[in-house]
């Protein structure tokens, strides 16, 4: 038991992202309102983004901006990688956030089109109206 607790505490970022992902997935699948589904989708994607960022973290490390001075001479000094958290996941996730936002935009545009056509955002009502066509 203490072993399991240890596990959870040490790897809490993994557990967190899994829980967030599941919440997002649940919302996407079971919610009736289209906007809520989109929110779920966004939560799902954000969970993954958070996970990625979290893996760049190092203990006792600071943000990835070189500490001593700025300009030419600072860049030429040897840099201890262990003092800075990994910037690569952050950079990657910037791209992923952009993708996520773009997807959200497209999805919202689709929802607007659906709303203009069917005057409702509830999925079961939309299905009913589609059947009546």
């Amino acid at each position: 038991m203490p072993d399991l607790l240890n596990e959870i505490v040490h790897k809490y970022n993994y557990w967190l992202y899994i829980i967030l992902m599941m919440i997002g997935l649940y919302a996407m699948i079971s919610k009736n309102n289209l906007i809520k589904k989109l929110v779920g989708m966004n939560i799902f994607q954000t969970a993954i983004i958070l996970f990625f960022i979290s893996i760049g973290y190092k203990e006792d490390a600071t943000i990835p901006i070189i500490v001593s001075g700025h300009g030419g001479d600072a860049a030429h000094q040897a840099i201890q990688a262990a003092n800075y958290i990994n910037p690569l996941p952050h950079v990657l996730m910037l791209t992923a956030i952009v993708v996520s936002v773009a997807t959200l935009g497209v999805a919202l545009a689709l929802v607007v089109m659906i709303y203009q056509r069917y005057q409702t955002l509830e999925e079961d009502e939309i299905r009913m109206r589609v059947k009546q066509l």
């Binding site: 997935l25 996407m28 289209l34 589904k37 989708m41 799902f44 994607q45 993954i48 996970f51 990625f52 893996i55 996941p89 990657l92 791209t95 992923a96 993708v99 773009a102 997807t103 497209v106 999805a107 545009a109 689709l110 929802v111 089109m113 659906i114 056509r117 939309i126 589609v130 066509l133």
Partner: protein, 501 residues
């Protein structure tokens, strides 16, 4: 200039997209020609790359001169060079064939359509050339976003909803892939495909790597529409506008199969995937189930568009089964089938587009007598249908041959039976349409022996551009079939043998 073709092939449609978007404000009539030029640039680059690869082997291109693993690398090798030609050619021919369709279905949105179309092609070509895992994700999402938008431009009642459902599943798929890449990054510290491949053998026993593989695999499966993760496919493809359908249906799912094979052979490696994981029997079984399910569901359809969509589901099963059978023949069959199926599906959708343009209806029962009014289109349909059934000398037969051989060699009898079964069902599907089209409706003057000379049918064919495109693709079907020997020997086999040694 010579060395920059790998970048050019992606940049050409991308720049054209921006140009078209700008020109949309100025004068809409410029949009279409500029789009053609952009796609033409891609075709030219792909041809050039093909000759380069055949001469000197794999091309490794560093974007911006940054060396991997920090920089993004583009790699053109035997596997993707043929697909580059396929994608760019199909995109170009489709654009040529779709001019009138676009005018008919969405006249005001022509500029927008061209822009998004070009972005879609950019994404596809990017997915094919990239050698970086995260870059693949980004380009994958570019492709998917463009396809969501394109698919939603169709039938205003149902297309947005179908596209939205596709969005959900597409996002899940891409996110799974991203997760898999994340795990790989944690374990190896690198995102470059070859780099990861060299680092993996040392850590191949870890669970994280297997989970990474499974996440990537499931993500790609969702995107390619493998049964039972295919549910987005029929609806999304049925309500889309013809011009969009014709480019998305043949290409998108096939490029996803390419991604799967790339992951299997280049990143994770043959030994890991087949020997350590030992899941291939299950996956071949899944592929066989996909084949049978796709075939049966296609049989149940009364609408030609939906029927074609389910045929795609069936074909994906071929490729997944063939790739996972585990021997050279099966893999060769799967890769050859990517090309063949791209061509066949494109031909079928061209036919569908012609029928929609001329007649506007796609229910099979309403197609009676169109053999007489649209003989060239139906000839194309027969040719494409023969390829789906697997009748020589069309290309479909040859990839089926390799797949069958691979299945027999590996003793995967369920797969072999599924292949034969689906060929028979395809025969029923194709000839059901051919029969309806060949015979006029029952209300016609019933033919008695002789004296039938009065049955005049009005020739009501599709415009020349559409017919010419169909003709080119039809000839391509036979040409690729007859030359599949050289294609396999010189291009596919070296790659597969190297990957599976």
């Amino acid at each position: 200039m010579n060395a920059n073709y790998p970048a050019l092939i992606v940049l050409s449609p991308l720049l054209a997209a921006f140009l078209v978007a700008a020109l949309d404000w100025v004068d809409r009539r410029w949009c279409y020609p500029v789009a053609l030029i952009g796609l033409g640039g891609a075709v030219y680059s792909s041809g050039h790359l093909f000759f380069q690869v055949m001469r000197s082997g794999t091309i490794a291109y560093q974007l911006g001169g940054w060396p991997p693993p920090m920089g993004i690398e583009l790699r053109i090798d035997f596997l993707n060079v043929l697909l580059l030609i396929l994608v760019s050619l199909v995109a170009l021919v489709n654009m040529v064939a779709s001019k009138k369709s676009i005018h008919q279905e969405m006249p005001i949105k022509e500029g927008t359509f061209c822009t998004i179309y070009l972005l879609f092609v950019t994404g596809l070509l990017g997915v094919l050339v990239t050698g970086d895992l995260f870059n693949l994700y980004v380009l994958l999402e570019i492709t998917s976003l463009a396809s969501y938008a394109l698919l939603a431009m169709g039938n205003p009642d149902r297309a947005p909803l179908a596209s939205l459902n596709y969005v959900y599943l597409g996002v899940i798929g891409a996110s799974f892939y991203l997760l898999g890449v994340g795990y790989l990054y944690i374990m190896t510290g690198s995102l470059n495909m070859l780099d990861v491949a060299s680092l993996l053998p040392q850590i191949s026993g870890s669970t994280a790597v297997s989970v990474a593989f499974i996440f990537c695999l499931v993500g790609v499966w969702i995107k390619m529409g493998l049964f039972p993760l295919h549910t987005w496919l029929p609806n999304a493809y049925s309500y889309a506008p013809v011009a969009a359908n014709r480019v998305i249906a043949p290409l998108m799912t096939k490029v996803m199969v390419y991604v799967m094979i790339r992951l299997m052979l280049t990143v994770f490696g043959f030994h890991y995937v087949f020997e350590q994981l030992d899941v291939q029997n299950w996956i071949v079984g899944l592929g066989s189930v996909a084949i049978i399910a796709g075939a049966l569901m296609a049989l149940a359809q009364t609408d030609l568009k939906k029927m074609l969509a389910y045929i795609i589901v069936c074909e994906i099963g071929y490729m997944v089964g063939g790739a996972w059978v585990g021997n050279v023949q099966g893999m060769v069959g799967a890769v050859l089938h990517i090309i063949n199926d791209g061509l066949m599906t494109f031909a079928l959708f061209l036919v569908l587009g012609n029928i929609v343009y001329v007649q506007g209806k796609t229910k099979i029962s309403e197609l009676d007598g169109i053999f007489a009014s649209m003989p060239w289109t139906m000839a194309g349909f027969v040719l494409a249908g023969l390829s789906i059934i697997g009748v020589p000398p069309t290309c479909g037969f040859f990839s089926k041959w390799y797949l069958l051989l691979g299945g027999i060699q590996a003793g995967a009898w369920f797969f072999v039976i599924a292949l034969v079964f689906s060929s028979l069902i395809s025969a029923i599907l194709v000839f059901r349409v051919v029969e309806t089209a060949f015979f006029s409706s029952a209300q016609e003057v019933h033919g008695h022996h002789g004296g039938h000379a009065g049955h005049v049918a009005i020739l009501q064919e599709a415009p020349i551009t559409m017919l010419a495109s169909l003709g080119i693709v039809g000839i391509g079907l036979i040409a690729v079939g007859i030359w599949s020997g050289s294609i396999v020997q010189q291009v596919i086999l070296p790659f597969v043998q190297q990957g599976m040694s």
